[in-house]
Point group: C2
Chain length 516, copies 2
Amino acid sequence: MALINQFTTQYGLVGKIDAFGYLDYLKANPDVSRKHGKVVLVTADTPLKASRGEGKTTTTIALIDALRARGIDAAAVLRQPSMGITAAGSKGGASGGGKASLTHPELVDWGLTGEMAAIENAQNLLVSFAEKAVDEGRIDTVLVPRVSEVPSRSLRQIVVDRGKGNVPERVVLTPTCEMMQIVVVSHSMDEIGQRVANMVAGTKNGVPVTFGSFIDLWRITGILKDAVKPAKTETVNGSPVYVHGGPFANVSLGIPTLVSVEMACALHDVVVVEAGYGADAGAQKWLDIASREFGAAWPAAAVVVTRASTWRDDPALSWRYPFHVNRLENLGIPTFPLINLWDGEDDQIDDLRKTAASLGFRSPIIGNLFRDGGKALEPQLDDFVAAFDASGMSAAGDADAVSENGSRDSHKGLGLVDDVRWIARNAYGVPSERMVIADGFESSLAAATQLCAGADVSIDDLAVVAVKSPATMTDDDTRPADERTVTLKKVEPHFGAGVVQVNLTTSLTTPMPKIV
Amino acid sequence: MALINQFTTQYGLVGKIDAFGYLDYLKANPDVSRKHGKVVLVTADTPLKASRGEGKTTTTIALIDALRARGIDAAAVLRQPSMGITAAGSKGGASGGGKASLTHPELVDWGLTGEMAAIENAQNLLVSFAEKAVDEGRIDTVLVPRVSEVPSRSLRQIVVDRGKGNVPERVVLTPTCEMMQIVVVSHSMDEIGQRVANMVAGTKNGVPVTFGSFIDLWRITGILKDAVKPAKTETVNGSPVYVHGGPFANVSLGIPTLVSVEMACALHDVVVVEAGYGADAGAQKWLDIASREFGAAWPAAAVVVTRASTWRDDPALSWRYPFHVNRLENLGIPTFPLINLWDGEDDQIDDLRKTAASLGFRSPIIGNLFRDGGKALEPQLDDFVAAFDASGMSAAGDADAVSENGSRDSHKGLGLVDDVRWIARNAYGVPSERMVIADGFESSLAAATQLCAGADVSIDDLAVVAVKSPATMTDDDTRPADERTVTLKKVEPHFGAGVVQVNLTTSLTTPMPKIV
């Protein structure tokens, strides 16, 4: 029996894997047979709107089906979609489509085995403990927001204890909460406990007070016992797919859990990681946060998905797709355009290839993945396979450093504003002189810096998480290149997760979409 | 292979059973082998406070272990404890203790397989749809409350859309919400859909508008797909235990799901159903709601649990235990006192037996169940087994009607206030003339009656759910018998669940206990 089966328990139609236990076992038993798979990112063009995906999950599924048909041991790691958003009809599920589907999309789209709900409960319980701490005089201000999986714009800003205390509070979506971030970056339950201990409950006379100073951490880790286990499912063609961690890389980490990717790399030769919405969100977070700051694998190759129409229909936005492809190439990552055709678009293939050539791209991979699944890709993958075979990148991240902009070094110590400048220049194409400091940003930064100092944390040691609209990279992507700006609006440190969120562009709110 | 295995899927350490499918199969195949088990209620004295249980779950577990040791095919049906309350430390778990424990109490106490969370999400999504209905002008007032599993008193009354709409809303605990009530009483997913369709979203110009008139019901039933399946676990001695449905019979139904009990009766000869807090809450709800109004089995016997100290230490409250035992006996249910000893109380057994005899009780069953488990009970069960063997009651409810007060007829049509009078007289010992109508009750009843009329429902056809403190049966249980009163405070119909809640006694709030 394969070793991993000893760490796997069936939960209905999905397997749940004790990834912490498996990775610990590998560490304690270095002679045990394991793989050192390479990570391939599937990311996308910036979508025209959040509800209109380009087909990243469909591509990821088709890609592993195609690679496995070629005899390569490939697997995918997906983020769990937000049931609240799907159930509300604000957005489709995220389980692929047509011939590029998971066997049980209804499981993945509709709450899996309760992972999101447990994370939501854990953070909400922390809020209850924080309220108790107010009653007991330990803190005078609660800083940790409540959490809801279900979208409801009216929950963004609430008042609790109506008619008595009338305390203003915030509610954020489950995938974006600090507890989700902690689950995404942690490598053990002990680390989760330590990170929860470092979360700021609130302040007392302006000085931050962390949960570790007054709660029983087992009450929180107890709730998370199953939520920390990646789920294993498969494509309709039997290719292995791991699902773990929350979506929404525009407003939070939005990447799969690091342990799910590390586990998959120990089990397979190629691990396709989905990173969206666009490359400016998902790929930026994978590269600049997961890899640089938390030791995740640097990608051996990347695929940037687009639809034929996205690439072409709005001339004012057509700069974005080549920008993403070129940025990743310039980081030394072999990057392949992938054009996900819809019905009636097959006759555009020649034109699309010409456009790609004129832009200096590698030869694009083109197919109707919904209709044809992995079979559409299989014959087109020679260059792609050769590229990641040739790459020295691996899960161990042991390749040479790449070019200046692409250095995989940590940005710790760079300084928060300089780090945002770096992101704006490299990921959004906006130079430093066109960064705009909004009213209130300086005071928000000063307050955050003071909060950090009070907790003996340097704000410059926290990984910067850009919070922005999924559909735009700058304040207005339709403006000419030399007029585009990025505005810094607000700063919010999450000590427990080890990140600091910086609100940019036109979306500064917590993500509670309108129900549709 | 046993038929039930075809309807069972393993979810980690517990089995999840498609009870709807199994019961449908039995109905469609009347010649298939099945049992017609009798229901035995385990209920208790009214607790001195909510956080101090008498030991119902411990007793239930010890009882089935003892019955099985005597060769009787017994099983238990428990309600899932509220993780929020347990994690907050407000109350212990509900998985027994010591030698009378479940094999995996941490599973049952800490969220099982996400059942509560799914029910919470389902009702919260309905609130989001109701808000959308406000935006669209379908309704002008939202009547369905939000739901939280995590206790937080400050959530009882909130304001959403702070700074803009400033809309007042309520939040109730998951176990007490209408969606939980619907799951508890329904026999199929179609019935759940129909009941959700009948839930009142809010009103438009005072006229109730139901969810069925504007939402896709599959969005809600999709969320509930696993939550409707009872979980199967076992005691440390291997006796089968089914867990399904929410607790808190003082403020809601607080009984296991009806399908979980029906399924257990098809599989076993004796099905021990836990019904608490005290007999005035859990047993009252089982008898007067589950059995009378929803067709559940009338109990073939009952056990009323108390501690030696509860029975004796507060003379002003010592009337309650005999009241409960005698009430159930007078309903024709053979009722056995069970005294759950704590360490150091073994020498009280003789005195306890004398007291029981002086009160005219059946011979009490006495043991330290934490220390000795079912072995403490096994030799004492001759009379108990003989009693339910002799009983004509069965899952089919085919016995003769019992005495006047004990008639198992529905109370539909009795009239809400008369029904509460009946409950107060029979379950709390307070005659009609000492019912107190609080200020505001009449207007609350009039508004509820009008709401019902607007929805073409007679309020008198809804099953009355008494909402009260778990620790008291009357406004002040320490007063002399002829001075005790019950106060009617507020009325809240739940059309979907088919019940109307009537707030009584000193507890009129939604149950958000203080976190401790």
